[in-house]
C-alpha cells in the first residue's frame, strides 16, 4: 500500500501538469517576444525587424553534437528557401568563455545564414527555459510562434522544411 499513495499523487501531479497546458494559451496564439542580439560582426539584429517574413530561430551551442548534425540541413534550407523569404537566425548559446570557438565552427561548416550570439543566455531562457539544444522556434509572418521543436532526430529536417514552406505560403 505504501506504493499506492505516492504513485497516485504522482499521477495526479502529472494530470495537473497536463491540465495546466490545456488552459494555457496555445502556442499558435503567442507572439514571439522581441529581442536584440548581435551577430558575429557586432551588428545588432532585432526579431521585430524581420516582421512580414517567416523566421526560424535555431538555438545551438558549439559543444552540442546534435546541433552540429542539424546544421548542414539548415544550411541547405537557407540556400533553397532564403531567396524565397525564409530567414534563419542561428542563436549560439555558448557563454562568454567559449566566444572564440563560435566563429571558427561557423566558418568551418560553411554556414551562411545569420549567426547571433546570446552569451548571457537571456534570449534562450525566454524561448526555451529548459535550454534543450538544439531548439527551433518557427515564427510566422505575423510574428506569432507557429511551432517549436525540441531536440533533433534524423528526418526532423524534412518535417521542419515542410512546416516552413507551409508558413511561407500563407
Amino acid at each position: 500500500m505504501s506504493y499506492l499513495r505516492p504513485l497516485f499523487v504522482a499521477a495526479l501531479a502529472l494530470g495537473v501538469s497536463a491540465a495546466a497546458l490545456v488552459v494555457a494559451p496555445p502556442a499558435q496564439a503567442a507572439s514571439a517576444t522581441d529581442f536584440a542580439l548581435r551577430d558575429l560582426n557586432g551588428t545588432q539584429h532585432k526579431l521585430s525587424q524581420y516582421a512580414g517574413k517567416v523566421v526560424l530561430l535555431n538555438f545551438w551551442a558549439t559543444w552540442c553534437g546534435p546541433c552540429q548534425v542539424e546544421m548542414p540541413h539548415l544550411e541547405a534550407m537557407h540556400k533553397e528557401l532564403g531567396p524565397k523569404g525564409l530567414v534563419i537566425l542561428g542563436i549560439s548559446t555558448d557563454d562568454a568563455k567559449l566566444d572564440a570557438t563560435v566563429k571558427p565552427l561557423v566558418k568551418g561548416k560553411g554556414l551562411t545564414y545569420t549567426i547571433l550570439r546570446d552569451p548571457q543566455t537571456t534570449v534562450v531562457s525566454q524561448f526555451n527555459p529548459a535550454k534543450t539544444l538544439p531548439f527551433n522556434v518557427l515564427v510566422d509572418k505575423a510574428g506569432q510562434v507557429a511551432k517549436v521543436h525540441a531536440g533533433y532526430n534524423p528526418g526532423d529536417e524534412v518535417a521542419l522544411k515542410a512546416e516552413l514552406v507551409e508558413l511561407m505560403a500563407k
Partner: protein, 575 residues
C-alpha cells in the same frame, strides 16, 4: 523494535495554475530585412512557458544492517517546475516556481521519527520536512528606446567570463541568476551595462536528488561594463564582490550591501576581425582581494585567441595565463556554482576527478590549437579535426591531486559526418599529466579516451543510434590514490519516427572515487527508457534501471553528479 512506514503527512502538492556596420566582409551579410515599426522591443501578448514534471522512485539493492528485507533507500520524489512569462508592449513579467515533495521517506524506529533522506538542510525553514516550494526566479523586464532594464533575476557575463559569468546551465542542473537590478543602454555601436544584485542559486534540482536543500548565501555582485562594437570591438569593465560566509535564512539578504567588498575585478577585452587573414581577441582581468580569509592579495587572467580560415581549414589558436583566480569562486563553490569562469583549455568529455581542478583553472599557463577541415556542402558534410593542448598547472592542494606542479599535454582528433540521415560524431585522444616530482619510471598520469555517436537509418521513419564512450585512466606516482580505472558508457536507441524512441543504457566503472554501485554487479549498470513526443514541444519519458555517478560537463562547466537506481518518469512541455 519495528520499522513502520509512516504517513508522509503531506497531501500538499504544488497547485499549478498556468497563466494565461556592415562589417561582414568575411561573413555573409544578414538576410535582407523588411523592417516593421515596433514600439519598444517587446511585442504585445508575448507568452512563453515551460512545464516540467519529474517523478523518481529511488530503490537501492543495499540493505539496512539489521533489516535484511529493507533497502537503504526506498522512497519517491516529485519535482514540479513551471516557468512562464508574459508581456505587453513594453514590459515582460516572468517567474519560475519550483516544488519538491518526498514520499515514503520516513518511518518510526523505536518510537522515533526517522527520515531516509533529509530534504531540508542548513538554514532552511518550511512548512513540512518532506516538502519545499519556492519562487525560484522572478523578473520584470522593460525596454524603452535604447534602454533595457531588468528588476529581479537576470543572467550576466562580462568580458570572457573571468570577471563575471552567471548564466543558465541546466544541462548540468545549475541555474544561478543575479537577483537585483540590471540596465543596458545601447547607443549605436556603444553599449553600457550595469548590474547590482545578489546571487540567487537554484535550490530545487530538477534532474538530481533533492537532499539537504540549503538557504542561499546572497553574495553581492555589482559591476559595470562599457563596450564598443565594430570591426575592432573593445570593452572595459569592473566588478565588485561581497561574499557571504554563513547560511542564515533569517538574515536580510540586503544586509549584504552593507558589508565589505571582498574582491574587485577590473578588465578589458579587444577583438579585431579580419586583421589580414586573422580574427584576433585578447582579454585581461586584474583581481584585488581584500578579505582576511582570502590568502592572496591579487590575481590575474590573460587570454589570447587567433583564428584563420585558409582554404577548407579553420584554425583556432588560444593561449592563457591565470594566477590566483580561484578565490572568486571560493564561497559560491560551497553551494556548487561559480560566479566567474574564464576560458578553459580542457576537452570536457574527458574530464576526470583530477583534471576537473584545472577546468576552471587557477594557476595555469599554456595554449591550444585546433584545426577543422570542411569537406562537402549542403546537406552532406564531413568535418574532421585535430587538436593539441599543452599547459602548465602550478596550483597545488585543494581539489588538485598533485603535490607538485605538472605539465599537461593533450592530443585529440575527431570527425563530424552528416550524409543524408547518416550521422557520425567521433572523438579520440590521449592526455598525460607529468608531475615535476614523479620518478622517471612512472612519470605521470595518462588518459586514453574515445567517444562515438552514430545514427544509421534503417528504413522509412526507423533508425538506430549508438553512442559508446570509454575512458581509461592510469595513475602515475600520486599521494592520493593509486588505482587505474576504466569508465564505459553506452546508449543504444531505436527511433521509430519522431514520436517514439526505445533506449538501452549500459555503464561500467571501476573508478573507486565514484559514489554509486551498479544494479547488475558492483561495477555494471543497466537501464531502459521509452521516450514519446506526442507533439514537437512535448516529451514524455519513462526510465527503469541504474546509471553511474560521475562528472558531467556542459558548456565548459562540470559537476560531480550522483548516480541513480530505480524508476523515474518525466514530462516536459513548452507552451
Amino acid at each position: 523494535m519495528g520499522r513502520v512506514v509512516a504517513s508522509s503527512g503531506l497531501g500538499v502538492l504544488l497547485a499549478l495554475c498556468a497563466p494565461r556596420p556592415a562589417l561582414a566582409d568575411d561573413l555573409p551579410d544578414p538576410a535582407p530585412t523588411t523592417v516593421a515599426p515596433v514600439a519598444g522591443t517587446l511585442q504585445g501578448g508575448a507568452t512563453h512557458g515551460l512545464e516540467e514534471f519529474r517523478f523518481r522512485h529511488y530503490q537501492s539493492d543495499e540493505r539496512l544492517p539489521d533489516f535484511p528485507d529493507e533497502p537503504v533507500f526506498d522512497y519517491q520524489e516529485v519535482v514540479q517546475r513551471l516557468q512562464v512569462s508574459g508581456g505587453s508592449s513594453f514590459l515582460l513579467l516572468g517567474a519560475q516556481l519550483d516544488a519538491v515533495t518526498l514520499f515514503s521517506n520516513e518511518y518510526i524506529l523505536d518510537d522515533e521519527r526517522v527520515f531516509e533522506r533529509e530534504l531540508w538542510g542548513e538554514g532552511l525553514v518550511g512548512p513540512h520536512p518532506n516538502w519545499w516550494f519556492t519562487v525560484e526566479k522572478v523578473w520584470l523586464q522593460g525596454t524603452t528606446g535604447g534602454f533595457a532594464w531588468t528588476l529581479g533575476d537576470s543572467y550576466q557575463a562580462f568580458g570572457r567570463g573571468l570577471a563575471l559569468n552567471v548564466v543558465k546551465n541546466t544541462d548540468i542542473d545549475v541555474d544561478t541568476s543575479l537577483r537585483g537590478a540590471h540596465g543596458k543602454l545601447t547607443a549605436g555601436d556603444w553599449e553600457v551595462t550595469a548590474v547590482t544584485a545578489l546571487a540567487n542559486p537554484q535550490q530545487v534540482r530538477l534532474e538530481n536528488p533533492n537532499l539537504n536543500l540549503r538557504a542561499d548565501r546572497p553574495h553581492g555582485v555589482h559591476g559595470v561594463r562599457i563596450e564598443r562594437f565594430g570591426r575592432v570591438r573593445f570593452g572595459a569593465h569592473g566588478v565588485a564582490y561581497q561574499f557571504v560566509r554563513q547560511l542564515d535564512e533569517a538574515q536580510d539578504p540586503f544586509s549584504t550591501y552593507g558589508g565589505d567588498v571582498d574582491a574587485g575585478v577590473v578588465g578589458a577585452t579587444v577583438e579585431a576581425s579580419s586583421v589580414g587573414p586573422f580574427d584576433l581577441g585578447a582579454a585581461f582581468d586584474w583581481i584585488a582581494y581584500g578579505a582576511d580569509d582570502i590568502t592572496a592579495d591579487h590575481g590575474y587572467g590573460a587570454y589570447l585567441s587567433a583564428s584563420a580560415y585558409p582554404g577548407i581549414a579553420s584554425v583556432l589558436v588560444e593561449g592563457k595565463l591565470y594566477r590566483d583566480t580561484e578565490w572568486l569562486n571560493q564561497f559560491s563553490g560551497l553551494d556548487g556554482y561559480e560566479l566567474s569562469t574564464g576560458p578553459s583549455l580542457e576537452y570536457e568529455r574527458a574530464i576526470t576527478e583530477d583534471s576537473s581542478a584545472t577546468l576552471n583553472s587557477n594557476d595555469i599557463f599554456g595554449g591550444r590549437v585546433r584545426t577543422d577541415f570542411a569537406l562537402g556542402q549542403g546537406g552532406s558534410m564531413v568535418t574532421p579535426y585535430v587538436s593539441a593542448a599543452a599547459f602548465r598547472d602550478q596550483d597545488l592542494g585543494g581539489v588538485h591531486f598533485n603535490e607538485a606542479p605538472e605539465t599537461v599535454v593533450h592530443g585529440l582528433g575527431g570527425i563530424v559526418a552528416v550524409v543524408g540521415e547518416f550521422h557520425m560524431l567521433a572523438n579520440a585522444g590521449y592526455r598525460t599529466d607529468l608531475r615535476d616530482d614523479s620518478p622517471a619510471a612512472n612519470p605521470g598520469d595518462s588518459t586514453v579516451h574515445a567517444d562515438l555517436a552514430i545514427t544509421i537509418p534503417l528504413a522509412h521513419h526507423l533508425s538506430i543510434e549508438l553512442a559508446p564512450s570509454v575512458l581509461r585512466y592510469h595513475w602515475g606516482e600520486n599521494p592520493v590514490q593509486q588505482q587505474d580505472y576504466t569508465d564505459f558508457s553506452s546508449t543504444a536507441a531505436l527511433k521509430i519516427g519522431t514520436p517514439w524512441a526505445l533506449l538501452v543504457y549500459a555503464d561500467y566503472s571501476d573508478n573507486p572515487l565514484i559514489t554509486s554501485t551498479g544494479n547488475v554487479s558492483d561495477n555494471v549498470y543497466m537501464a531502459g527508457e521509452v521516450q514519446w513526443q506526442p507533439t514537437s514541444a512535448t516529451t514524455v519519458k519513462a526510465f527503469y534501471g541504474a546509471y553511474r555517478a560521475g562528472i558531467r560537463c556542459a558548456g565548459g562547466q562540470c559537476r560531480s553528479l550522483p548516480g541513480f537506481e530505480g524508476a523515474r518518469a518525466s514530462f516536459t512541455a513548452n507552451f
